[in-house]
């Protein structure tokens, strides 16, 4: 224990018989937003499974679904890290495509093996993220403006580089192992006789790693806590001795790194490294993070929530696809289901809140 001096135990405190305020029950765990998301996702999956048994087809439906969710979860995590310090990263998509570009360059021109290319990609993402973070921390200009500018710069840079370096605006060289990574599932990993499920793509290992890493960072470490407090109240954090500038730098570096990882995963998912990777990352990144319970204003994140939020959207989309909902209605239903599902969740929270208050 590090408390400096012993409590001045004096007369007035010795016979302290002040009752703690009568505490009533706090909100029960099942009001938890994450649990709500999980329930929603499972309920919708069951519903779709009943309507279309093919939904549970492991190879044709679940495998691609999970591969998609894996990638988008990493995208959401990249955004979440930026949100944790109360910032935004509008350049997630472009950082992803920049990372993919670097990986593609490594494989195509430098002949790197799979792992080294991945490292190069992550490094590139981290560097770009760090640069962004540095500018924000040093100038105090809003992250919105800086990442928007970064988005433009990278958008231009990536297309210029692809045009300059390639014929088809894509790197098509595939290092050995890349195609395996794309199409193998846990079914290809066996311990003795027991093999994994063919529904889980091996690509998901990166997502699991990212989830575990960030979970560890935010729940267990000093850095994670300091990131959150920097987001919650920068002025108070600075006065409490947190190096807010460095934490902002860290957050953006991590965000860039995760974005690049997502870019790599997207490239592996389709097969080549091209400029259009990450084009559609921005909205899902926010959607996943915010649905999961991460605050746009900073200070509160949910690592698992990002996974659940992304899964919910993925399941709805896949289900609608399976039901054969055409282009005319797909988006309409997607939006409606999402809003309805969330309102239902809200009702649940409100009802349980009332119950707790009443029972007190």
């Amino acid at each position: 224990m590090r408390t400096p001096v012993r409590t001045p135990r004096n007369a007035s405190r010795a016979d302290d018989e002040v009752a703690a305020p009568k505490s009533t029950q706090r909100l029960p765990i099942w009001v938890n937003q994450r649990l709500g998301l999980l329930v929603l996702t499972v309920a919708l999956a069951t519903l779709f499974g009943i309507l279309r048994p093919a939904f549970l087809d492991q190879r044709l439906v679940l495998f691609p679904l999970l591969r998609d969710i894996s990638t988008l979860t990493v995208v959401a995590l990249a955004q979440m890290v930026a949100l944790s310090v109360g910032h935004m990263n509008l350049a997630v998509g472009r950082m992803a495509s920049f990372g993919a570009l670097c990986a593609g360059f490594g494989y195509d021109r430098l002949g790197l093996p799979l792992q080294l290319g991945l490292l190069l990609c992550l490094f590139a993402g981290a560097v770009i993220g760090a640069l962004t973070g540095w500018i924000i921390a040093r100038t105090g200009v809003g992250s919105f403006v800086v990442t928007l500018a970064m988005d433009f710069a990278l958008l231009g840079l990536v297309s210029l580089l692809y045009s300059a370096l390639t014929e088809n605006a894509a790197f098509t060289t595939r290092p050995s192992g890349l195609m395996d990574l794309r199409s193998t599932s846990l079914a290809d990993i066996c311990i003795g006789r027991v093999c994994g499920s063919p529904a889980v793509p091996q690509l998901a290992q990166f997502t699991v790693l990212a989830l575990a890493g960030l979970g560890f960072l935010y729940t267990c470490t000093r850095m994670g806590r300091e990131l959150l407090l920097t987001g919650a109240n920068p002025a108070a954090a600075e006065l409490s001795g947190i190096p807010t500038g460095r934490r902002i730098l860290l957050a953006h570096t991590l965000s860039g790194l995760l974005a690049a990882l997502a870019g790599f995963m997207a490239a592996v998912g389709t097969g080549t490294f091209r400029a259009s990777i990450g084009n559609d990352f921005m909205l899902p990144s926010f959607l996943g993070a915010v649905l999961g319970g991460t605050l746009l204003t900073g200070g509160i994140v949910s690592v698992l929530g990002a996974l659940l939020g992304t899964s919910l959207v993925g399941v709805i989309r896949k289900g609608l696809d399976l039901l054969g909902v055409g282009m005319e209605s797909l988006n309409i239903y997607l939006g409606c289901v999402l809003l309805l599902a969330l309102s239902a969740d809200r009702v649940r929270t409100v009802v349980s809140y009332r119950k707790v208050v009443r029972s007190a």
Partner: protein, 358 residues
């Protein structure tokens, strides 16, 4: 009690405040950029047709920027700007072309529908307390679907020639659509600055709790802001429908980012409580200048994007370096941040030194 002298002093203070504001910086950039382009094109850029083209395409960015501003001023985001605009444009197109509705009625219907969508969005946000970001993302998705359902993949163009003529008319080389946008901006500015309802909106954005304690219903302000935002998007859709060769599903597809960029570059804070109509308009000008420069110098879009990014980043860093330099020299206590600062401290730092002789 307030003497004329006092008023003069206040006007001076207002001027001083303006000279340090983002709007001032933007104004300088706009004027300098415009003149530079004029010089580069050996004067051609300052002539009638060029000016007209330049202004014609300012209407949409200004209007959507304003629509976003109204949402931002109560601390909300409106992600459905583009989808709503596109939907409304297609709706008006279909009404006129397929249903044979007369143009004025169709236009009015479009604007009303847009405002209604905004209203419903606002009510939904308030009723469910789901984050406005998610709700507008949801409405965006729904509207995208609705837009596609309305228009399919075709381009609807056989609608009112009068409307088209109005969309292209430019008395004195000032396009009507641009004037519409300016009028909307002026009205919005007057509303935000002068009207009770506008002040309530800003109060609720600036400090929701305080506003609530002062008897201002934040819920109502959120609904109002979204309705207004929808209304402005509706107006933007009208100008788009009037000036485009036709409407199709792609309309509105590129509105989202510019709608944020204009107000935020113009000095509006994402946290609510601030509004910068003039700044938003100027920011739209600056962005339009970049388009014009691209055409003038036949630049590859990739280079343009790259340069825009670098220039903004450079300005941001350069501004900071200049400021540190000034601070070191100790010539000033006050900073002129090149863009809205994210930290509270800068606001403090920009304040006059109360301890000095006054």
């Amino acid at each position: 009690m307030i003497t004329t002298n006092d008023r003069g002093g206040r006007a001076g203070a207002v001027l001083r405040r303006f000279s340090r504001s983002t709007a001032m910086t933007l104004l300088c950039v706009t004027v300098a950029g415009y003149l530079a382009l004029g010089a580069a094109s050996s004067g051609e850029f300052l002539q009638g047709p060029s000016v007209r083209t330049f202004l014609q395409y300012l209407a949409t960015p200004i209007l959507i920027g304003l629509a976003q501003t109204t949402a931002l001023c109560v601390g909300q985001l409106n992600l459905a700007v583009g989808a709503l605009g596109g939907f409304t444009a297609c709706l008006m197109g279909i009404l006129m072309a397929d249903a044979g509705v007369p143009a004025p009625i169709a236009v009015a219907a479009g604007v009303v529908v847009a405002a209604l969508v905004g209203l419903v969005t606002g009510v939904f946000i308030v009723a469910t307390r789901i984050n406005g970001f998610i709700v507008t993302l949801g409405t965006m998705t729904i509207l995208l679907g609705a837009q596609y359902r309305l228009a399919g993949t075709r381009t609807i163009d056989d609608y009112s020639p009068t409307l088209r003529d109005l969309g292209r008319a430019a008395p004195l080389n000032l396009p009507l659509v641009f004037l519409t946008a300016l009028v909307a901006a002026a009205l919005l500015a007057a509303f935000m600055y002068g009207a009770i309802a506008g002040r309530r909106l800003l109060a609720a954005g600036g400090n929701p709790l305080a506003a609530r304690l002062s008897g201002i219903s934040t819920d109502r302000q959120i609904v109002l802001a979204h309705t207004l935002s929808g209304l402005l998007v509706g107006v933007a859709a009208v100008t788009a429908t009037a000036s485009l060769p036709g409407v199709n599903t792609s309309v509105g597809g590129d509105w989202l980012l510019p709608s944020f960029a204009a107000p935020i570059i113009g000095g509006v804070s994402l946290n609510g409580g601030s509004v910068a109509v003039f700044g938003t308009v100027l920011a739209a000008f600056v962005m339009r200048l970049i388009d014009a420069a691209r055409a003038q110098f036949s630049l590859d879009p990739s280079w343009v994007n790259f340069l825009i990014g670098l220039v903004v980043l450079g300005t941001v860093v350069g501004g900071r370096i200049r400021q540190t330099h000034l601070e070191k020299k100790g010539t000033t206590h006050e900073r002129t941040p090149p863009a809205p600062a994210s930290r509270g401290q800068t606001a403090d730092a920009a304040l006059p030194n109360a301890g000095g002789a006054r």
